[in-house]
Structures are given as C-alpha cells and as structure tokens.
C-alpha cells in the first residue's frame, strides 16, 4: 500500500500522523503511549526501584539481620568493601567468569541454532536436548556434576584417565575451579541462547533470502553473512546483554558446588553479597556490596546497550 495517499487521507480524517516517521507527536499520542506503558512503569517502580532504594539506605547502616535496632554509619561500609581483599578477589573472579561464559555461550548457542535450522530432520529432538540443562533443577544438576567431577571415582576423571589424558581435581584446585564453573555455566545457558536465536531465525522473512539468491549470494556462507547475521542484530544485542547479566549474577552454582572455595578462588560477587547478608548476618555491609555491584553492572550494561543499539540494523 502506498503511503503518501493514505497519509493525506488520514489528515483529512483528522487522525494523528504516524509517530514513527519522526513527525511531532500530539498530546493524544503521548497519552496513548503512557497508558500503554503506565502499568509497567508503576510496577517497575514499586517492585524494583523502591526496593533498591531501600537497599541503598540499608547500606548506610550497620543493621544486623533480625536485630531490632540499627544505626547509621555513613560510608563506613563502603570503605570496608573497597579495602577487603576478599571483595577484590570476588570482583576479579566475576569478571573472569563473565569473559569466558559470554562468548562461549553465544558462539555455541548460535552455532547450534544454525546447525539445527540448516537441516530438516530431528529438529525438535535436537532442540529439546540442547535445552535440557536450562530446564533442569539446578540443585540436582549440581549434585550430579559434583559426583561426576570427583577427583578419583568421578566419571570425568575416569574417562580422561582411560583415554590417557591428564586429570585434575576440578572443583578443588584453585587454577581449575573457575574455568570449570564457567564450563558448567556455558553448559547451562547455551540452550537459552539457542532458543532466542531460533526465535530470531524464525522471524527472518523468506523474501530476504530469495532476494539475496537473486543478487548472487549462492553460497551458504554468503547468505549467512548478508542476510542472517544482520537480521539477527536485535536478537544478538539482546542475547549479549542478557547472557552477560546472567553470568554476572551467577549464584546457585557457586552456592551448591564450591561456596566460593577453595579459599576465595571461585567466589563471585552475588555469592559474597548473599553470604554477608544472610549467613554472616551483616546485612548493612551486604547491602553496600550490593550497591557497588549494581553500579558496576549498570555502567557496563548501559555502555553495551548504547554501543549496540547504534550498530544494530532495524527495519
């Protein structure tokens, strides 16, 4: 349908001009937009931002979980956070973990999604299998991993030894524990990335491929390069941000498998926060760890979003 005619008609009918073409919006548009977004905004404030504000306030106190009194200590908690060697170790570990898990998950997730969609047979089967780790209850999986990674009687080391490959004390050796947790993180999350990429692939209109073929993009690789990957742009941005976030916020695997050990080798920020607040009952201090954590994550994510939104090709 041709646009200019309908626009003239619309104006004659008095309807507001389409806002998406950059024209100035009218009041009714604003009202429409805020009506649509209103409930979400209200709920975001009540369920996310007010609680976060509460955490900021608690971070300025010395409140102990369950105590009936507290007192304000200003920035004392924050000073302690930055001086604490354990916190710095935790921060470094978290960054290292993210640096391994994010590329690993995205590359594998995308590769598996492409492989599955590139053929006709057994798609449902392959999709389901690769999504299993994401669906399984973490505690059970962690228990299974712990048994598999046992230094002597575990299946992993037994297989490696059988093949003549070197073995290691995977979960208890400081140099291997973080990479192993990262590998488990990738194992868990690649199904998540895969499903999102599948949804993205399914949304690419067929005509684009036909057009590309007509333009001479015969090879599979060409089509990948000229159509698929650019069209996956918005999804890719999303997957990158969300997987990075999940990686930053890893907590369950650490809690069940290593509790941050050996020493502080596998300690990660969210676990530190949880332990300070709920195990050591130093909720004021735990809240300040939370604040520092949030500031880092917010900065990183907004930067990511800024950079990618500009590069991503929308319609």
């Amino acid at each position: 349908m041709s646009l200019p005619n309908s626009k003239r008609e619309a104006r004659r009918r008095g309807a507001s001009p389409a806002s998406a073409n950059g024209r100035s919006t009218r009041l009714s548009d604003m009202i429409a937009a805020w009506t649509l977004a209103g409930p979400a905004l209200f709920l975001l404030i009540v369920l996310f931002f007010l609680p976060v504000l509460a955490v900021f306030v608690i971070a300025l106190t010395d409140w102990q979980f369950g105590a009936s009194t507290l007192s304000f200590v200003g920035l004392a908690n924050f000073e302690e956070v930055f001086a604490d060697r354990g916190f710095r170790a935790s921060l470094f570990n978290t960054l290292a973990y993210v640096a391994i898990v994010v590329p690993g998950t995205i590359v594998l997730g995308l590769a598996v999604a492409l492989l599955i969609e590139s053929g006709k047979s057994f798609r449902a089967f392959y999709r389901a299998i690769h999504f299993l780790p994401y669906m399984a209850t973490l505690t059970a999986m962690a228990i299974a991993w712990e048994a598999l990674l046992h230094p002597t009687i575990g299946l992993v080391n037994q297989t490696l030894a059988g093949l003549g490959l070197p073995t290691a004390n995977w979960l208890r050796d400081e140099s291997t524990v973080l990479p192993v947790l990262a590998a488990i993180g990738i194992w868990q999350n690649l199904g998540f990335a895969m499903v999102l990429f599948l949804a993205g692939l399914k949304s690419i209109p067929q005509d684009l491929y036909h057009a590309a073929e007509v333009d001479g993009a015969d090879l599979w690789l060409d089509r990948l390069r000229t159509v698929t990957l650019p069209m996956l742009g918005p999804v890719f941005m999303f997957v990158l941000i969300v997987v990075a976030l999940k990686a930053f916020e890893t907590f369950d695997t650490v809690q069940v498998l290593t509790q941050g050990g050996p020493g502080h080798a596998s300690e990660m920020l969210l676990f530190t926060l949880y332990r300070e607040s709920f195990q050591y009952l130093r909720t004021g201090y735990g809240a300040s760890v939370a604040v520092v954590f949030l500031i880092i994550v917010v900065a990183l994510t907004l930067i990511q979003a800024r950079v990618m939104d500009k590069k991503v090709h929308y319609q």
Binding site: A32, E117, A140, G200
Partner: protein, 278 residues
C-alpha cells in the same frame, strides 16, 4: 519452506556435530536417571554402569512421590507459573510496543529504566520485597509467589527488540484500518512476534518452575511451595543425601517442562506461518 533458507553444510556434518554436543550435554542427565533407578547400595560404586543390578526405580519414584507431596508441589508450580506468565504478557507487551513504535517524551528514559531494572538480581531485592509483601499482607499465599514477577524487564526488552523488526507500514496500515493502539498490540504485534512471545513464555515458565529462592522467603506453608522443594527434602548437608529418591524427584520435576517445551516449539515454528504476511 525450511530447507531453502539455509542450504546446509552436508547433512552428515550436521548430525555429527549435533550428536557430539548432544552427548556432552546429556552426560549429567544420563547420570541422574541412572541414579534414580538404582538402590542405595549401588549408587557410588567404583565401576560404572547405567543399568543397576537390582532395579529400584519403582521404590525410588514411589518414595519421591509419597515422602513429600511432589505432585502437589508441581500443581502449585502450574498455578503460579501460568498466572505469572499471563500477567507478564498483559503488562509487558503494551509497554514494549510503546517503546518500539511510538515516539513520546521520556521514551529513552523509560527504556533506560527498563534496562536498569533488568540488572537488579532478586537476591538484592528479596529482603525489601519481603517487607513489602508483609505490609500488603499477602505473605504466605499464592499472591506472594506471584507479585514480584508481574512486570518483567526481560519481557519488555525482548518484546521491544522483536517489535522493532516489524515494519512501520504494518502499524500505519492498522491505524488506518481503525485499530486502537491496544488493538494493534494484541492483534498485530503479538501474532507477528509469536516466536519471541513463545520463547519468553518458555523462559518465564522454566525459571519460575525451578525457583526456590523467593518461595523460601515469602511462604512458610508447605502446601504452597513449588516443585524444587520436593528435591531439597532428600538432601541434608549434615547427614548426607538420599540420592535415589532425590534424582527420581528431579526427573519427575523435569518431565512437565520437557513436555511444555515440545509443545511450545511447534508454536514457534508455526508462528512463522502466521507472520508470513510480512
């Protein structure tokens, strides 16, 4: 209509690669199912076999169901997950549409707020939310399990990305055809972004089905607890775990999710047919 989109690397390569990854992925699950059919005496032997000498599956699964009301917990999971998902879509889709297709003052700020909310992990928010729930008086009820999740920044963000790929012309045309903005959301955007909606549904259901962190805080009544609690009852840090029924319970808890996924997959595929209007 499938194969034309991706002329494959050869079928053999495809299957080979996927089977390798599948095998690596499946290892712990094979272990889990194997433990769920073994008697306690065979669980940690130095030698490995999938199949036990003495088949103990019936005992383990029976114990998993009877010692703790796992089926009841799963029913709770169904109620809670379905409610959460319905509310999430109702709240998030309109907001995402506004972000994706409308221009209005404060839009960028709103999007930034959504992103920031996305970053806030529940471990951080749990305690204030607990106090909030207490003040409203809904603790220890299904509502307590549902209310923190009613708005999903993840959902808003995901829908926004997918809605943005729908051409503006479609929206213009719909307006001219007399659709209200809300009508556009339900009748145009959601059907055309169905793969994303279904994907979101899968993630939402899976994450709330398996989540224990918030339920342990918000609810004391065992009759309201979700499925993973059934597992935890077989685990003790001090005295060691009862592995057979634990893994049996884990398998039982996983089964409905697999079924949901198999069904949902089809919608993701068929969604393309409905959205072929593009």
């Amino acid at each position: 209509m499938m194969t034309r989109t991706f002329p494959a690397p050869t079928a053999i390569f495809r299957h080979a690669a996927l089977l390798v990854t599948a095998a690596l992925i499946l290892a712990p699950f094979v272990w889990m199912v194997s433990l769920s059919i073994k008697p306690p005496g065979e669980i940690f032997r130095a030698s490995f076999s999938f199949w036990p000498e003495q088949f103990y599956g019936i005992e383990n699964y029976t114990k998993a169901i009877t010692k703790v009301p796992v089926l009841r917990y799963m029913l709770n999971g169904v109620i809670v997950c379905a409610s959460i998902l319905a509310l999430q879509i109702a709240v998030c889709a309109p907001a995402a549409y506004a972000l994706a297709k409308l221009e209005f003052a404060g839009r960028d700020l709103f999007f930034a707020l959504v992103l920031i909310a996305l970053l806030l992990p529940q471990e951080v928010l749990a305690l204030p939310l607990f106090i909030l729930g207490y003040k409203i008086g809904i603790l220890n009820s299904y509502a307590a399990l549902i209310f923190p999740y009613v708005v999903s920044p993840f959902g808003i963000f995901l829908f926004r990305q997918f809605f943005k790929t729908i051409p503006d012309d479609v929206v213009h045309a719909a307006r001219l055809d007399g659709y209200s903005e809300l009508g556009i959301v339900w009748k145009i955007m959601i059907p055309m972004a169905l793969p994303a909606i279904v994907a979101f549904g899968i993630f939402s259901v899976v994450s709330h089905w398996n989540s224990l962190f918030w339920p342990l805080i918000a609810v004391q009544d065992q009759n309201l607890m979700p499925a993973p609690l059934g597992l935890m009852s077989f685990r003790s840090e001090e005295a060691g775990s009862d592995y057979g029924p634990l893994m049996a319970a884990a398998t039982l808890v996983l089964a409905p999710l697999i079924m949901v996924f198999m069904v949902a997959q089809k919608w993701m595929v068929e969604g393309l047919a409905a959205g072929a209007v593009k």
